[in-house]
Symmetry: C2
Subunit: 328 residues, 2 copies
């Protein structure tokens, strides 16, 4: 049985971190027990903070530990129960409590520092210190990034790529019908492909990508349709009018080209019309080149078509914000 958290990749990052943390903490607890220490794992950060920073108020401990105030209060009660810490009401502010170590607490820490901590630290470093950067550096980076902008904020704005599934067939039709009917009209070829995306594209080895924009949902789509051996047409690319101006199209096209490069194709072309100025500009920006030969060979596929372009698959991608891998 495979591991779902590993399979889900970054999507399950939180759950995966938690699972690993539980495992490490359980193991560390065992080490402490082997050395006859009665503390529970949750006591340990507060104890260490008191040792390192001296007496702290509850509020200061909250800041030092980076957990909620009730969590600190509970740790504190545990330590008091064990006789390792004590509190005194502050003289200047009778709401505050100053937490300090008892002689027993000081002795216990000294023993831990001598007999247990070094071995745990060494074992953890052995586990986690990588050849390039250690896990600790990575964690610090993630924490700093999270301080800057939370995961939910990051999820809210920006674009993400979604792969084709049958419940997106309607969106595929709607998004394309919008711009085609506005600028041209639906040709028989259009109707067939838009109405049967799985048969016309997916089942033949092609791909359909969608772009979802934070808060708006699916706003654009783009297909890679096989038309001959090793030859694909980039087609049916559209972004809803309501979502224009957010660079969704650029993000989508970059992701589609990424996909194309991974798909073992020899030729990738597209057909469009001189009327679609902004689209042509985007194609050029991401690396497409005008190609008269393609126009002669494949141009008859659509009446509206009078421009053809090819993409140089062997060249590296343009430097566009690289989209994250889509969810399968």
């Amino acid at each position: 049985m495979p591991d779902i958290l590993q399979d889900l990749g970054y999507l399950a990052l939180g759950s995966r971190l938690k699972r690993l943390a539980e495992r490490l903490q359980a193991d560390a607890t065992q080490v402490f027990e082997q050395n006859c220490f009665v503390t529970q794992p949750s006591h340990f950060p507060l104890l260490a903070a008191l040792d390192r920073y001296g007496p702290l108020t509850v509020g200061e401990a909250v800041a030092a530990l980076g957990v909620s105030q009730p969590a600190v209060t509970r740790s504190l009660l545990g330590l008091i129960d064990l006789g390792l810490a004590e509190t005194t009401v502050s003289e200047t502010d009778r709401r505050q409590k100053s937490i300090s170590l008892t002689p027993d607490g000081i002795a216990a820490i000294a023993r831990m520092k001598r007999d247990v901590w070094p071995h745990v630290a060494r074992a953890a470093e052995e586990l986690a210190a990588g050849p390039d950067a250690g896990l600790l550096d990575q964690l610090a980076r993630v924490e700093a990034a999270l301080d800057e902008r939370s995961l939910s904020e990051r999820a809210r704005d920006g674009h993400a790529i979604v792969d084709y599934s049958d419940d997106l067939a309607d969106a595929f039709y709607t998004i394309n019908a919008e711009w085609i009917t506005e600028m041209f009209s639906l040709e028989p070829e259009d109707r067939h492909v838009l109405s049967h995306p799985r048969e016309a594209i997916i089942d033949k080895g092609g791909a359909i990508l969608f772009v979802s924009t934070g808060g708006l949902g699916i706003v654009g789509t783009c297909a890679l349709m096989p038309v001959a051996d090793g030859t694909f047409e980039l087609t049916k690319m559209g972004v809803l009018k309501t979502a224009r101006g957010r660079k969704a199209g650029e993000y989508l096209l970059a992701a589609t080209l990424d996909r194309a490069r991974s798909m073992d194709m020899e030729t990738l072309f597209l057909l469009t019309s001189r009327k679609c100025e902004s689209a042509i500009h985007l194609y050029e920006k991401l690396g497409f080149r005008h190609d008269a030969g393609i126009l002669a060979t494949f141009g008859k596929r659509y009446e509206r078509c009078n421009v053809a372009m090819t993409y140089p698959l062997d060249q590296p991608a343009q430097d566009i914000a690289a989209p994250a891998g889509p969810i399968a």
Copy 2:
């Protein structure tokens, strides 16, 4: 207020991972809530596993999720409560239950995959994908290492370095008195340094390291004592007889040399006696060179001394198992 978990480094790896995991999960939950999903974060792995792997028995789900069986049972009850999953008793084995998604569950997953997952995955990747290796690769490495040998096993065997603190003064005396009295006898210089390690070494800018061996505790020590401007003597190195044969001395000496290299000194020498064959062999192995000039200059410090060596501080360390950083 500084962050204790960051300060403790690898020692607090578990707690730090847990804190980060809580933060990410809380944030992810918020994203789900914004998109009107009622699921709690713990439901998500089971839901994803059912979507990806099809109907599962409880046991299979335990394997796929990598958590305990009661945790799966609770997730399952939650999903059933929400009407997203259902169970059927297996035909062939009436102890087993097969968990499958209800139509509601299938629809909910489809919506999540379309509207939420891609954005969460993208945001998490943005947070955690590093320039060199992503956090995910690191986690996979740590998980694999943990599968091989648990943290507690790793902590149990092997050596760790402990820095000087006053409650180790006794150990400093005992460990050195053991070998000195056995092979020679305590000279006045010995008695002074061993009895006043802080005054004679630490306060003058020197360092004393101890090596703790899994299960045995502190078994060895080694000092870096300033004797002139920029000149240090590596001295008072000993390992208890009871701990010989475990390479504790080699580990300790390597760590001491690591420390020396970080201490901004120009000359590091040691004095010993031809009687100490195995020690001399170790010194040579880790890079010390015999030095007659030093013997002439500093040799009179001890009666027993008839060998002097210097360490080439500008050369890279010998390839000895690098010790983890000691706990301050």
